[in-house]
């Protein structure tokens, strides 16, 4: 069975896209090659703890290639197999960063639905097993297997190396990061790893922006929830728990990206996260600059959710009445609108109205942690009113 102590999981999985790219380069079709790599990976889990290979990458390529030959042997494509068999190249530099990048594009191909792109990316690029992905997303393993094999069929006509769409790659990684934890799999950590790998292969400032955003959020993870899973609002987080190394890295990556002067939404989001991370205490937060970044984000995305967050930031920068005025311009059916309104009324000192709004916001919450947080806010304010009244 899996023995994480004996095998460096992240290091092993770092090798996966390169191994897969090598097989495809040797002429294997993507779908079968991907199955072969997955089986080699599972074999590595089983055998490496006892017999660690001298050359991990070479071992994976050889094992996956043999498995690929087995998988195609029964196929009608016997002729093609024999040709491949004969053509097996000598070991050596077989893949390049470009091939790995091409895999990212393929797995997040615009023809795939978001959930298919996420599943295929986690398996073919991330090197997670179908079982791990199924556990992370709380679906049966057979369902996830189907999702992956359908995704592979959907991209079967796409040649590796065709120009891809970086935006769908970034969106796919963003979805993985947002999922946080699932089962035993640290999806946010996995998204950070993949974004690092992607950033090392590209010089697009938005890739750097996404990596910076992940790092800056990931740095605060330990402070964001209590042991019981309840949410800790940013202002109440214990900043001594923030990972200073990740914050420093995130800020470095972001600054380098911003000097390129090709602003995009991920860089702008990362800039907001950096301003939070930079503040020694909640009181020292530079809300004026945060509002300016929200203005940039509004210009870039025109997203109602961004406008909502901007209204809350305006409330911090210019006072709750200004925040409520900004909020009044928005559609009150937006998710979290009522929660934002409750918060701004609380800040404005209108406890009765805030309590009522928190109760309503709790009923509209989309996550359990958020609902519990808002319910608790309402209860605290009610108690406060009872005690003073």
């Amino acid at each position: 069975m899996i023995s994480p102590a004996a095998v460096d999981e992240a290091r092993l999985r770092d090798l996966i896209p390169g191994v897969l790219a090598t097989l495809v380069r040797r002429g294997a079709d993507f779908a079968t090659a991907e199955d072969a790599v997955q089986e080699a990976l599972i074999r590595a889990w089983e055998t490496w703890p006892d017999v660690p290979p001298d050359d991990a990458r070479g071992w994976l390529i050889t094992t996956a290639w043999r498995r690929f030959i087995d998988l195609t042997r029964s196929d009608a494509a016997r002729h093609r197999r024999e040709q491949l068999d004969a053509d097996e190249p000598a070991p050596g530099p077989t893949e390049s960063a470009d091939d790995t990048l091409a895999l990212y594009f393929l797995c997040a191909h615009p023809s795939l639905t978001p959930s298919s792109a996420v599943a295929l990316t986690l398996r073919a690029v991330g090197g997670l097993t179908t079982r791990q992905i199924a556990q992370a997303y709380l679906v049966p393993e057979s369902t996830m297997a189907q999702r992956i094999s359908r995704a592979k069929r959907a991209v079967s006509g796409v040649r590796l190396g065709q120009p891809g769409d970086l935006r769908t790659v970034l969106r796919t990684l963003y979805l993985v990061f947002n999922e946080g934890y699932g089962g035993d799999v640290d999806l946010a950590g996995e998204a950070v790893r993949l974004a690092r790998q992607l950033a090392a292969m590209t010089d697009d400032p938005e890739v750097a922006g996404l990596l910076a955003l992940f790092l800056l959020h990931h740095a605060r993870r330990a402070s964001r929830t209590r042991a019981d899973g309840s949410l800790v609002p940013l202002a109440d987080q214990d900043r001594s728990l923030w990972r200073r190394d990740l914050i420093a890295e995130g800020i470095d990556v972001l600054q380098a990206a911003l000097t390129r002067e090709r602003l995009g939404e991920y860089q702008a989001q990362a800039a907001i996260a950096a301003l939070h991370a930079d503040a020694q205490s909640a009181d020292e937060t530079d809300w004026v600059q945060i509002v300016e970044w929200y203005d940039e984000l509004v210009a870039l995305t025109d997203s109602p959710v961004v406008r909502l967050n901007r209204a809350v930031a305006v409330g911090e920068a210019d006072g709750p009445q200004a925040g409520l005025a900004a909020l009044a311009e928005l559609d009150n059916t937006l998710p979290r609108y009522t929660a934002a309104s409750a918060y701004l009324h609380e800040q404005a000192g209108d406890i009765t109205k805030a309590t009522e709004l928190y109760v309503r916001a709790a009923a509209q919450a989309q996550t359990v942690a958020e609902r519990n947080h808002l319910t608790m806010k309402a209860a605290v304010l009610r108690q406060l009113a009872d005690d003073t009244g």
């Binding site: 709380l138 679906v139 949410l231 989309q366 609902r371």
Partner: protein, 135 residues
Amino acid sequence: MAKYLFLKHYRGAPAAVNDVPMDQWTPAEIDAHIQYMQDFADRLRDSGEYVDSQALMPEGAWVRHDGAGKPPVTDGPFAETKDLIAGYMIIDVDSYDRAVELAGELSAAPGAGGEPIHEWLEVRPFMSGAHLPAE
């Protein structure tokens, strides 16, 4: 990537268009219905959207704690309970629109006369787990 629960009601839902109870169907009609439900679940398995489905016995009991050291109290079943769940299906799909589309298909399962029942199914989104809090 969101999970939805489809709830099928024995009682409590608005009346279906083809509102003939199952105990009045012919064997062939019942067969066709069961086959449709199985095919529907199989298609969702195949599309990678299936999570779970279960039928529930119509009769259950009410149970509550009755104090430390005492056995729980049971009561019921109560024949007059207005709302009664017959079963559920859980799906994992990309969008609310897809969930509605699928619930519509499920509602078209054949009933009396081999005609679609057009029954009302309740579609409820799951509350999700952790997400980036808006900060």
